[in-house]
């Protein structure tokens, strides 16, 4: 689980875009850790959200993830 979290954070800090879809994060993690299952990646991402490291970004119709502090992090006022 810790390996997956590390891989997620690496992707979240280095990806071109500050907000990304779950699928893109999943692909990036599986590139580093080919055995990582989708469900494990989801669990790791949820833990990171609960720890306050990752954030959800929702348009209402679809949801993206982002690293807290990168890109838009506060209300876009």
């Amino acid at each position: 689980m810790e390996d997956i979290k590390k891989a997620i954070l690496e992707f979240a800090s280095d990806s071109k875009k500050s907000k990304f879809y779950f699928k893109d994060m999943e692909k990036a993690v599986q590139k580093l850790l080919p055995d990582a299952k989708s469900r494990e990646i989801k669990k790791a991402a949820t833990e990171l959200v609960n720890e306050g490291t990752l954030i959800y970004f929702s348009t209402g119709s679809s949801t993206m993830y982002g690293l807290k502090g990168r890109g838009i992090t506060e209300d876009p006022e």
């Binding site: 989708s38 989801k42 959800y56 929702s58 348009t59 119709s61 949801t63 838009i72 209300d75 006022e77």
Partner: protein
């Protein structure tokens, strides 16, 4: 079957939960309403009130007046939120474009859905709607409510939000329209801890499952829709609140093919109650309909004189598969040809009833997007038993999800993925053989192809041996 709650249900008592007194709730007169003007000029919205139908503008004005007359400490967001909302809408009418900013990072702790960020892009002009977040509240099964619950919910929303709500959104949830970010966690706390009420789904989540009232009130229900929806809502809580899908995913449950929740048009996975034995026929009641002793359609069209009931014209000739006829004064049905259109059952409910060996048909791939064309579901599983704990159905759902999560592109619905890969590929993935019922129109969409391994001898053949039997 009575509801078997997963945990003890909390009894909500409005007298203990209420925030407002009766005087505060009825704090204006109809005379005051007639003379009431909101703080912005809204000529086009005023126009909307003049049509024959009830207008949301009239309701919003009532709420605006109500908030004007409440004491300032009786609302936690701005008093004129409704007036600013109407003002901004008028501005959008004037300019022909929206002034809502869409999306954001707002939410409640641990949930990736249920709250949708909305902001005004002209907050200096309409400061009370600088934030106008939407909250989705998971509706109750079959939308049965206790007034204690509804009144408590409305008080909470008046106090911490705009007081404007939508019963219900097209997904099925109760939609709270408009509050500020700092109110989100307190509302979530009170909903879950005081009202024993969860949020619904939004974003790339499983959306709040919805169903018709099913067996609770309807004689045609072939499945216990409320129980199925309740079970799957609980079982898939993680999918409902923690987004990991490529896009939204909707389940809807119709108790019979009349389809009162229109699952066939709106759900990525539609569950429609059906039967696999024969329609039950009470020949005495058929005679009574013919003789005029029983009013057809349960009396639904009795407001006008349509003449004597004619079973040939009104039922038999309208059967889409022509599988009915009269013989010796008795109604005959070739049940294997029945497509479950429900017309005959709806016209003569006391004579015809669904069979007793009931279950669901599962259809996949509907969507009703605003910008692109809508698509209806395609029949995938003609019949499956649907009994608690619905393990067979969960197994099917998970096979579909696994493929969609693996192959689906970002923001691609299941129906679009099936179109991109072909129905044949989808059937292979879920392990079902193709059946004629899956084909929308023979020869117009021939998407089922033979594979070499399915054909005896494969693609090679001895042409000489063939010609020996078939001359050119």
């Amino acid at each position: 079957m009575a509801l078997d709650p997963k945990r003890p249900q909390k009894e909500i008592k409005y007298e203990e939960m209420r925030i407002y007194s009766d005087e505060e709730l009825r704090n204006y007169t109809e005379e005051e309403l007639k003379n009431f003007k909101i703080k912005h000029d809204i000529p086009d919205l005023d126009e909307l009130e003049k049509g024959p139908w009830p207008s949301f503008v009239a309701d919003a004005k009532r709420e605006a007046l109500h908030r004007r007359k409440l004491a300032p400490d009786r609302m936690l967001i701005e008093r004129d939120v409704v007036e600013d909302m109407l003002g901004q809408l008028q501005l959008s009418f004037d300019e022909g474009e929206t002034h809502w900013k869409h999306g954001g990072i707002v939410g409640v702790f641990g949930y990736g859905g249920g709250v949708i960020g909305r902001y005004s892009d002209v907050p200096e002009k309409y400061p009370s709607i600088a934030h106008f977040h939407t909250i989705r509240v998971n509706q109750t099964g079959g939308k049965f409510y206790d007034t204690n619950f509804l009144k408590s919910l409305c008080d909470l929303w008046e106090y911490r939000g705009s007081g404007l709500l939508n019963m219900h959104g097209s997904t099925g949830d109760i939609i709270f329209l408009g509050t500020f970010t700092e109110q989100l966690e307190p509302i979530f706390f009170e909903l879950t801890h005081e009202l024993d009420q969860d949020l619904g789904g939004s974003g790339s989540n499983l959306r709040t499952p919805s169903e018709c009232m099913g067996k609770s009130r309807c004689e045609w229900a072939c499945i216990d829709t409320m129980d199925m929806s309740y079970e799957l809502t609980n079982y898939y809580q993680d999918e409902l609140h923690r987004p990991a899908f490529p896009y939204k995913f909707k389940f809807k449950f119709d108790g019979c093919p009349n389809g009162c929740v229109a699952s066939i048009a709106r759900a990525d996975m539609s569950f429609i109650g059906t039967w696999r034995d024969d329609i039950r026929v009470d020949q005495e009641a058929v005679k009574a309909y013919i003789g005029g002793e029983i009013i057809p359609n349960g009396g639904a069209h009795k407001g006008r004189d349509w003449g004597k009931f004619d079973i040939q014209k009104e039922v038999i000739e309208l059967c889409p598969t022509q599988c009915m006829w009269m013989e010796g004064g008795k109604l005959q049905i070739d049940n294997k040809e029945c497509t479950r259109c429900m017309h005959c059952l709806s016209v003569m409910p006391r004579a015809l009833r669904p069979g007793t060996d009931t279950g669901v048909s599962i259809l996949c791939g509907a969507k009703a997007p605003i910008l692109e064309g809508a698509q209806m579901s395609t029949l995938i599983v003609p019949f499956m038993k649907a009994e608690p704990p619905y393990d067979n159905i969960k197994e099917f759902i998970e096979k579909v999800w696994e493929w969609w999560m693996e192959e689906g592109k970002n923001r691609e619905r299941l129906g679009e993925l099936i179109q991109r890969y072909s129905l044949q590929k989808f059937l292979e993935v879920i392990g079902l053989p193709p059946a004629p019922q899956m084909v929308k129109a023979p020869r117009s969409n021939p998407y089922i192809f033979w594979k070499e391994e399915d054909v005896p001898g494969g693609w090679t053949r001895d042409i000489k041996e063939y010609r020996a039997r078939h001359k050119r």
